[in-house]
Symmetry: C2
C-alpha cells in the first residue's frame, strides 16, 4: 500500500519573513522560492500582497516564475486583500488564495470587536469572493485552538459550504499540547458534516516548544496539510520546522504511515540559504539541521563501543544532504566544473553572473589553499543577491591602523552612484567602530548598530567569514551582509550594504493601519 | 488542592557538556552549578567522575560547595565507576548515584555483547553496590524506548527490588513520539509491581524535535522527574530544554496539574550564562529564551489591533526574568551599587574579584556612554572564569595596519609566565588572521582555527562584542573567549585564551577505553 500523501505548505516567505529582524528583499525571496520548489514543497506561501507594494511585487514575481509548486498569497477576509492576492497570482501555475479571520472569543472581542454571526458572514463572503478568482481557497480561523469548539465547527462547515478547499487550524499563540490538538482535529472530522470536501491543515507556533509535536499529532489524527517554515523561523518562537516534520514522518513512517513528497537531500541547502539570507543563525543543537545534529558522523564521538551505526543513529545524514563537503576546486579548476556545480545546487545564473562568480572564484582560489562548497556558495549568493543597480555607495578603500592602548583611526573612501568619491577619517572604540563612524560621516546618517555578528562560513584559518549587521535609522531597521576572508574589510562591506538598503528600500508599511499578524 | 510536584533533574553539566564543542573548565562548571542552585533545580547531575580526573574533581567541587540541590554523578554499572561517584560526592548535602546500563536488543548485541540475564544481574549488582554508599540511587536502562517492553518491565522491577529509588526511562536516540512514549510510561506503571517504591523519570533527546513534547506527555502519564538541560544543549540535537518544560507546565497547568519548583525569573540569567560559557548560541526563534520569543513585548510588533495583551501572549516575560535591561550605571556609579547588583544575580565574588570588576567597570564606563546589565555581566564573567594562574601567555600589545588591496601585517607582543616578552610579526588574509599567525609563530604551535564567531553582547555602537574561537591542535579542540569593545583586540585575547587552554588542560580522556555516551 502506498503511504498517504501529506501536503507541505511552506510559509517561510510569509510567517517566517514577517518576524522581527528577518527582512528579505525581493531578489532574496525569489531565490528562496526557487529553493523551495527544488525541495518539492507542495505550496509556497509567497507573502501578503496587500501589506505593501513591495510584498505585492514579490508575490507576483514568484507566481510568474516558479513552476511545480502551488503559490499562495495571504489575505484578510476583506475584498481588497483578496483582490490583491488574485492580481498578484494572475500568472501562477496553481494559485491559492489563503484567507484568514480570527474566531476565538478573545480575538473577536478585542481584535475584531464583532459578534459570532458577523464573523461567520465575513468568512463566507470572503471565501465566495475568492472563488471568483480561483478554485483553490484556503481558510484559516485564526486562534482556532482557543476558539469555542462548537463555534469552530460552525465556521469550518460554513466556509467549506462556501467553497473552501483547505481549512487550516492554526495554533496561533503556540498554546496547544499534542494530545489536545489531535483531539481538536478528530472532533472536527466528526462534527463538521462536509469535512470530506476539504483538506484539514494545521499551522502551529512554537511558544511552548511543541510546534512540531502538535503538527505531527494532528497528522496522526487526520490532518493532511501542515504549514511550516525552514529552520522553524517565524513570529516569536517561530513556526513548526519543515525539516523536523518531514524527517520525523520519514524516520517514523511505521507510526505515521504518511509521507511528504519533499526531496529531503535538498534540506541542508535550503536551511543554509534561509539562515544566511535572514541572518537567523541555526543553533548547534537544532534538530536535523544544527551543526551537531549528526555530530557522531563527523568523527568527533566515534567510540570504541560503537559497533553498529544504528546504536545511536536513527537517520542517515545523506538523507538531508549532509556530507562532508569536499575539497572541490582549486585555482586550476575550470569554468565548466564551476558552472556544473552551481547548476546542481539549483542556482540559475545568467552568463554575466556566472562570469562574475568565476572571476571572484579565481581571486579567492589565489588567496585560499582550500576552496570548499560553502565558499563557492558564498560567492554565488553574493552575486545573486546584490542588486548593484540600487546601490548608492560602493566601498573603494579602507586604510587604518591599530595599536593596543591607542584609539584607532580609519580612513574610508566611498564612491557614490554619480561617480563622485567621498573620503572621511574617524576614530572609534575599535577599527570596526572607526570604519562605521567614517561611513556615517560620509553619508550624513547617524545610524545605530543594533547587532554585529561574524560567523566563519567555511573551515580553516583562511575561512570566509560572514558578517551580519543590523542597523537602525529613524525607526527603520535593515540587515547588512557581506562575506570574505578579511573580517575588517568584510565588516566595512556589510555596513555599506546596510546603508544602501536604508537609502533605497522604504520599509514595507502595512496597508490599512497597524501591523497585521496572520495566523 | 496543591498541584503535584515535579522533580527537575538538570544534566547540563553532564549530557550537555559532553556534546562536541561544549567543553567547560571546572571553574565554569562550578559557576553553572551555582546558577542551577539559584534556579532551584532539584537535582544537578554534575558529571561523570570516572571519565577523567578533571571530571572527578569538578563533581567533587560542586558536591562540596552547592547546597539546596541534590548532586548526582553518573556511573556505568561497574563497581569502579560507582566507587568514583561515591567518593566524589562524599561531602554532598544530598548525594545521588546515577547508574546506567543499556537494555535494548541493539545495544545488548552490539554495544554490550551480553544476554538478558547478564544485563539484569549487572544492573542489580550495581544498584546494590551503590546502596552501600548512598540511599538515593537512580537507574537508567539506556535506550529504554527501543527495549522490548517485557524485558524493560523485568529490568525495572529488579532494580527497584535492589533499591533504586528513581528509575529513569531514556529515549536515548530521540526516536519516540509523545503518544507512544506516554503509553510506555503508563504500561510501566501497570506492569511493574513495585513501581510505587520509585519515582519514574524520563530523559528525552531531540533528534526528531520532540524531546519537550515527549517529556511532557510522560509527565501527563505519571512520570514525576524529567531530565533536561538549559537551552536544550546535549548530544547531537540535544536534550529536552529545561526552560520549555518548566514554562509549559506553568502556562498549561490547567492541563498538566503538575508544577516544578523552579524559580522561573532566574531562567534568562541561567540561559545566558550557559550560552556564553559553552559558546552554543541560542537561536533567535528558540522557544522561551530566544531573542524573538517575546518580540511583541519589545515594541517591534505593537500593532493597532492589539487591544489586549493576551491576544498574542500566553506568558509574561517577567516570569522568565526578561525585562528591558535598564541603563543601570554610568561612570559616577559607586562600588556599592555595583556590588549589590552582582549579588542580586547570584554571583559570589571575593573582595579581590570585586575590586578587579570595579576597576574594569570604571575603564568601561569611560569608554562607553551607556553601560547595560549585560556589560557588567560580561565583566563579572571575565573575572570569575579566567584562571590567570594557569595562563602561559598574556597579551601585551598588538600593532598593525590594514589597507584595501594590501596584505595586512601585525606585530604581536606576548609575555610568558616566566616574565619574558616575545614578539612576532606576521601577515595574513586579514588583520585577525595576521594576529593569529603571529601568535602561532611565538608559541610554535600550528593551530587550526575551526570556528570564529563574534556576537555583540550589548546594544549600541560601542557595544561589547564576544569573540569565540574554536582552535584545534593535535586532535585537541578548545574554546577561547574574550569580550570587549574593540573586536580586533578582543579577537587576539580570545586566541591567546585558547592557546593557554591548549597548553594547560589535557583534554579529559575517558577512562576504560573509548568515549562513553550515557543515556
Amino acid at each position: 500500500m502506498q503511504p498517504e500523501k501529506l501536503i507541505i505548505f511552506d510559509t517561510t516567505l510569509r510567517d517566517g519573513e514577517q518576524c522581527p529582524g528577518a527582512s528579505l528583499n525581493n531578489k532574496e525571496k525569489l531565490e528562496i522560492a526557487r529553493q523551495l520548489a527544488l525541495l518539492k514543497v507542495d505550496v509556497i506561501e509567497a507573502g501578503f500582497p496587500i501589506a505593501s507594494p513591495g510584498d505585492f511585487q514579490s508575490v507576483q514575481q514568484i507566481a510568474n516564475e516558479i513552476r511545480g509548486s502551488s503559490i499562495a498569497g495571504l489575505a484578510r477576509a476583506l475584498e481588497k486583500d483578496i483582490s490583491a492576492v488574485a492580481q498578484a497570482l494572475e500568472k501562477a501555475e496553481s494559485p491559492r488564495i489563503h484567507i484568514f479571520l480570527s474566531t476565538s472569543k478573545l480575538h473577536r472581542d478585542h481584535k475584531l470587536q464583532k459578534g459570532k454571526e458577523e464573523v461567520i458572514q465575513m468568512a463566507v463572503d470572503a471565501v465566495k469572493f475568492g472563488k471568483k478568482f480561483c478554485d483553490d481557497i484556503e481558510f484559516s480561523p485564526e486562534d482556532a485552538s482557543r476558539t469555542e469548539p462548537d463555534f469552530l465547527t460552525e465556521v469550518v462547515t460554513a466556509v467549506i459550504d462556501a467553497g473552501a478547499t483547505t481549512v487550516n487550524i492554526p495554533d496561533t499563540v503556540g498554546y496547544s499540547v499534542p494530545e489536545q490538538f489531535a483531539e481538536l482535529i478528530r472532533s472536527l472530522k466528526e462534527t463538521v458534516p462536509n469535512i470530506e470536501k476539504a483538506v484539514i491543515s494545521v499551522h502551529c507556533h512554537n511558544d511552548l516548544g511543541m510546534a512540531v509535536a502538535n503538527s505531527l499529532a494532528a497528522i496522526k489524527a487526520g490532518a493532511r496539510q501542515v504549514e511550516c517554515t525552514i529552520n522553524g523561523i517565524g513570529e516569536r518562537a517561530g513556526n513548526a520546522a519543515l525539516e523536523e516534520i518531514v524527517m520525523a514522518l520519514k524516520t517514523r513512517n511505521d507510526y505515521f504511515g504518511v509521507q511528504s513528497g519533499i526531496d529531503t537531500p535538498n534540506i541542508m541547502a535550503c536551511s543554509r540559504l534561509v539562515s544566511s539570507l535572514t541572518g537567523f543563525f541555526v543553533q548547534r543543537n537544532k534538530a536535523i539541521v544544527g551543526k551537531n545534529a549528526f555530530a557522531h558522523e563527523s568523527g568527533v564521538h566515534q567510540d570504541g563501543f560503537l559497533k553498529k551505526k544504528d546504536t545511536y543513529e536513527i537517520m542517515d545524514p545523506t538523507d538531508i544532504g549532509l556530507e562532508m563537503s569536499e575539497l572541490v576546486m582549486g585555482k586550476h579548476s575550470g569554468r565548466n566544473a564551476l558552472s556544473t556545480k552551481i547548476k546542481a545546487w539549483g542556482f540559475d545564473l545568467t552568463q554575466e553572473e556566472l562570469d562574475e562568480v568565476f572571476a571572484n572564484f579565481k581571486i579567492l582560489a589565489d588567496d585560499k589553499k582550500e576552496v570548499f562548497d560553502e565558499d563557492i556558495m558564498a560567492l554565488v549568493q553574493k552575486q545573486k543577491f546584490s542588486d548593484e543597480s540600487l546601490n548608492t555607495y560602493s566601498l573603494i578603500k579602507i586604510q587604518g591602523s591599530f595599536e593596543s592602548g591607542v584609539v584607532p583611526e580609519t580612513t574610508v573612501l566611498l564612491k557614490s552612484r554619480d561617480g563622485q568619491e567621498h573620503s572621511a577619517t574617524a576614530k572609534g572604540d575599535g577599527p570596526v567602530d572607526s570604519i562605521y563612524n567614517a561611513i556615517d560621516h560620509i553619508t550624513g546618517m547617524a545610524c545605530k548598530l543594533i547587532d554585529y555578528q561574524v560567523m566563519s562560513k567555511t573551515r580553516g584559518k583562511d575561512a570566509q567569514g560572514e558578517v551580519t549587521v543590523r542597523v537602525r535609522h529613524e525607526n527603520r531597521e535593515v540587515l547588512g551582509k557581506s562575506t570574505g576572508v578579511n573580517t575588517i574589510e568584510t565588516s566595512a562591506h556589510a555596513y555599506v550594504n546596510a546603508v544602501n538598503k536604508l537609502l533605497v528600500k522604504p520599509k514595507a508599511g502595512p496597508v490599512g493601519g497597524g501591523d497585521i499578524q496572520g495566523p
